[in-house]
Symmetry: C2
Subunit: 652 residues, 2 copies
């Protein structure tokens, strides 16, 4: 825009044949140097898979240093372990004990969601956290079984094998699925495909999680009300039907009394924890206290003889090996892989979201791909030591963070507490009433119903809200699988919509500047007579090239009608602001060519303003820039408008 | 940028607590008025499905006029028919006769590609063009069977039913597939989902078409060499193996002689047609002349007794009804639907591409969705009158265009000629040698191998070229289905890549202007010390929000290292140019929040320049704009840099 503030016509041109001339002090649009044959291919490849430049630390280092860095890169424990001190240990010890007290009752309940014996929940809080502590890079995440993944795994597994009639096969399939969940996670990380989990939109995740939370809470009504005959389905209608048809004879008032009083206790403690951040430990240890008190109460009163259901037997001892139980052949292999891939992806989504959230809070970096490898290895090892799919738990990670954890050592502490529990304390859980576990789970999943986030989504984007509700209702009225499918489909549809229908805007000049902006956003912006300036707000690719061309033609048509109605000078120049057009492919170039031909027939000149390096390079290579003429390509809209001036003044 | 040309620091601010102050004459970023609840939803909906505003002509019209417009909209024949005159008819007559002479021999050959009797090819050139002439909006397209769709249909059908052992079932399944191909096309148009075919990238189509052309040409070796035992597979290895294993006893030299001489004749005529545009009719009638001469020759010499294979019997009479042959139930229904959907989509892609190309040449508009409805109805009617999938043929449309067609009447002329052929001339084809049909098809598919387009794709985009070659080799080494699958997959992968990895650029000030541009494109652009300006070149959505945040942080890290090495003042301001960020969702806002928090920890101020209407609206609604501060949002980068000035000068 050559330094002048006003875009008004300035007839500096020499009045020759060409209507558009460059003034001598105008900056040219830079045509980038000819590229090396595979340069742009490699650039795209690098930005796709290695955008974080993981090897940058290895540059210019001696070999021994490189080995150490490599070791630290695979096992971050060697990195942070060297600076570990007693002060940090104190923080980790307190945090570890707190999350252990929270995880033990949760584990027992979550295992039931996956239709597994309670001990497998505890097993899954012993081995995986140890593996993660050596390989993971998040300092705040708390590893173990989580509600949503347990429910999802349980639903998917039950569709294949009945856990009541074939408990052995069910268990073996669970380990198989866990193994392949781990393989999936590790493979995504190793092949640097971690970005695939970004295809699940935030809105869809909020809806899915909310729906899953309600489904999980509804499932707890079995334990909470002491119902013996309960539906195997998870949709709200079947569950409520099951609950109310059991109302007259199946509800157990003693169970309800125990459950309700402890749920009140848990909710109150949560409320207290929210009021004062210092009292975060109250809601954190409330579940364990509930378990202890209620177990003792049932043991004393022998309420189990009154129909109050209890955990009964819980095996003593640490994780047995389960390597030989994994199906590596037969028709269960394919099923295990399918279930594992789904469960692994969902587990990954949760863990990575947690890792990122807390890393942003403390301002440290997490390598998503490395993190996935750690989570994957952890589940592979877990599947061989009688664990089912473990991942990062949001509620326990938050407690971990607030309790002042410093490193992954808090996971080791938790793991040791779980080990001691497995070795010595499991018999004590015999009289723990199921109603307490139900209350603990209901209490734990309530925060997953993120109404605030849903309201924000509603405010910010109505389409996103539709996606959110689609996933939500899919989960509660159909099943977790259907909900997940809806969430993924809507997310993909949104991506496709985004690339097919890019926005376009008519630009006007903002008074007393040389800036051109969207006239809808800046009503004070004025259009230059005889010139229509349109901005295309996206790269022009095959998926949108026809739309872009048609949309530009429609803008032109509408403007011509307006101009005609107001008896203004006819449109002679169509300027396209190309700044947001970061790339173009052959279809896009064809669309520009078609537009150019069509405009030529109507005696309107096409002008491009501010094409980016890739675009100008490709227009050059395809010779469209020659056809259009380099004198029709400008650095800014203001330059272009100025150059149109002389010709316009002839007719106006 | 407030009219001043130079972005240099101008300490007009009042030196208060806030480091950033607005100078009084600066333009504010417009926050759009609060939107009506469903306004943006409806806007997106309209732009997605009704971006061409199909009802605009109906506005403010009386009822009778509206009815007429509605009729014209469904049957464009009522629109152009009213202005039809003798001059136009002369053009259409010549064009119609020319394409008829071209289509009759092609139809017979293409029907064989679909494993159908030759008569079905002729049937398909009679009914569908008539239907299209009433409903279609393209003036230049020539309707009938085409090579690629015939091959695809033949391959898909043969995978389900063997045409030799079960010819009846095969035929019925072909009609069923045609019916559902029509339903698919009409439904896509009716529900305005026409944009779905844009998801097949130009590069993938070029590769697919080239591969299909080679596959089709290879299939013709059977007829061309007079081989009797020929493989049922279509991949190049199986076909060449079949050809060479038959070399010693299966090749028929008389057949080869006839085929080769007429192929030479056809190629020569094509060459002449290319040399002079006026002689376009020579390659157009050459096939019919070849058929006539070779048929006469075989009849005279009775070469069929020497092993030259001939068409033999060809039924006389027009299309019988086939409504009752369509499967509307049973297990063939699902197969018919699947094949129909695939064949319909491919047929649509070809027809719409042709329609658009010629519409751009003559500068008239085609409504893609209406066009799809026309093509769909045409195939539905066709499936009930013994036709298989018809669509627009590129080679015949080009001839139609060059012969001077004016309207769809040329299709009616062609249709009448085909009718007369069916009624009276079919017996004459008895002695037509198959080698001639093979030569005609080879000659017809050669232009589909678009080497020029492939070279352009290679030049413009290496990734696109990989897609093109993937589809190409998929078709020739595996099958048309695999090739199509590869084409679609690569196209989708490209779209996903595009939204996951948007480009970012560091901006610098172009000397003597207030313009900030990519420093890689404009090496003369200079960076302002203490300020890092980054442009994000895409909307920030869930699919890229994490990447964008990480990429900005990496730019900052790299810049800080550079600054440190050169002992320049440290970076205090990070300006993000938001112009290309046309939209943002909740994930994107979270990413900005995370970035803001992380920068705060490092005492770097985040500044946004030039956010669009949607973005500023959403930042406002989500309160991020409040957190950031409206005094940290500027109209242009130059304004923002200017405002950073006073603070910077304190430390520099």
């Amino acid at each position: 825009m050559s330094g002048r503030a006003h875009p008004d016509v300035n007839p500096v041109t020499d009045g020759g044949d060409l209507p558009i001339k460059s003034s001598p002090h105008r900056h040219k649009v830079g045509v980038p140097p000819k590229q090396n044959m595979f340069h742009d291919f490699m650039y795209t490849f690098k930005e796709t898979f290695f955008h974080d430049d993981p090897l940058r630390h290895f540059k210019d280092q001696p070999k021994s240093k490189k080995f150490m860095l490599g070791l630290q890169s695979v096992f971050p424990v060697f990195d942070w372990g060297r600076n570990y001190n007693l002060k940090k240990f104190r923080g980790d010890l307190i945090a570890g004990l707190t999350i252990a007290s929270l995880c033990i009752p949760q584990d027992i309940g979550y295992a039931k969601l996956a239709n597994l014996d309670p001990k497998y929940g505890l097993y899954s809080s012993f081995v995986p956290p140890l593996v993660y502590a050596c390989m993971g890079s998040s300092r705040d995440i708390a590893i173990g079984p989580v509600a949503v993944v347990s429910l999802l795994l349980g639903t998917l597994l039950r569709a294949e094998v009945d856990p009541n009639t074939n408990p052995d096969e069910y268990l073996r399939l669970a380990f198989t699925a866990t193994f392949f969940a781990g393989v999936t996670e590790a493979a995504l990380g190793f092949f640097r495909l971690g970005f695939l989990i970004d295809f699940l939109s935030h809105a869809a995740v909020v809806g899915f999680m909310g729906g899953a939370a309600i489904t999980i809470a509804l499932q707890q009504l079995k334990g909470f009300l002491g119902i013996k005959k309960f539906t195997k389905k998870t949709d709200i209608i079947a569950v409520l039907d099951s609950v109310f048809s059991a109302a007259h004879h199946g509800w157990n008032w003693q169970t309800i009394l125990i459950g309700a009083s402890f749920l009140t206790f848990l909710l109150t403690s949560k409320f207290i924890g929210k009021k004062s951040k210092k009292l975060f430990w109250i809601p954190a240890i409330a579940p364990l206290i509930s378990v202890i008190i209620s177990t003792f109460f049932v043991y004393i009163t022998r309420a189990d003889k009154q129909g109050v259901q209890i955990v009964k037997h819980l095996d003593k001892g640490i994780n047995p090996s389960s390597f030989h139980q994994i199906y590596f052949s037969g028709h269960y292999l394919a099923k295990g892989i399918r279930i594992g891939v789904v469960a692994g992806m969902v587990a990954l989504t949760e863990a990575v979201a947690i890792g990122r959230t807390f890393a942003a809070m403390k301002d440290y970096q997490i390598d998503g791909n490395k993190e996935m490898v750690a989570l994957g290895v952890m589940n592979v090892v877990g599947s061989m030591s009688s664990c089912y799919v473990a991942t990062g738990s949001f509620s326990r990670s938050a407690v971990n963070f607030m309790a002042g954890c410093q490193t992954a050592v808090s996971n080791i502490i938790m793991s040791i507490v779980v080990l001691l529990t497995l070795l010595f304390l499991t018999p004590l859980f015999k009289y723990t009433p199921n109603a307490i576990l139900a209350a603990i789970i209901i209490n734990a999943v309530i925060p997953l119903i993120d109404i605030q986030a849903a309201i924000l989504i509603f405010k910010v984007d109505k389409l996103d809200f539709v996606a959110c509700m689609g996933a939500f209702f899919g989960v509660i009225f159909a099943s977790v699988e259907i909900g997940l499918l809806i969430a993924v489909s809507i997310s993909f549809a949104k991506i496709l919509l985004q690339v097919t229908r890019p926005r376009t805007a008519v630009l006007g000049n903002i008074p007393r500047t040389s800036v051109y902006r969207n006239i809808q956003q800046y009503p004070e912006a004025t259009m230059v007579p005889g010139v229509l300036t349109i901005r295309v707000d996206s790269a022009i690719y095959f998926s949108n090239s026809n739309y872009v061309r048609e949309r530009i033609q429609r803008w032109l048509l509408e403007e011509e009608e307006k101009v005609k109605a107001a008896s203004l000078p006819r449109i002679q120049f169509l300027i396209i602001e190309m700044l947001p057009v970061t790339d173009i492919d052959t279809s896009g170039i064809h669309a520009l060519e078609d537009l150019y031909k069509s405009l030529q027939k109507r005696d309107i000149q096409l002008i491009l303003a501010n094409p980016g390096p890739l675009v100008i390079g490709k227009l050059h290579l395809s010779h469209f820039a020659d056809i259009l003429g380099y004198d029709h390509i400008f650095l800014t809209v203001a330059d272009a408008v100025e150059a149109c001036g002389p010709k316009l003044s002839d007719e106006v």
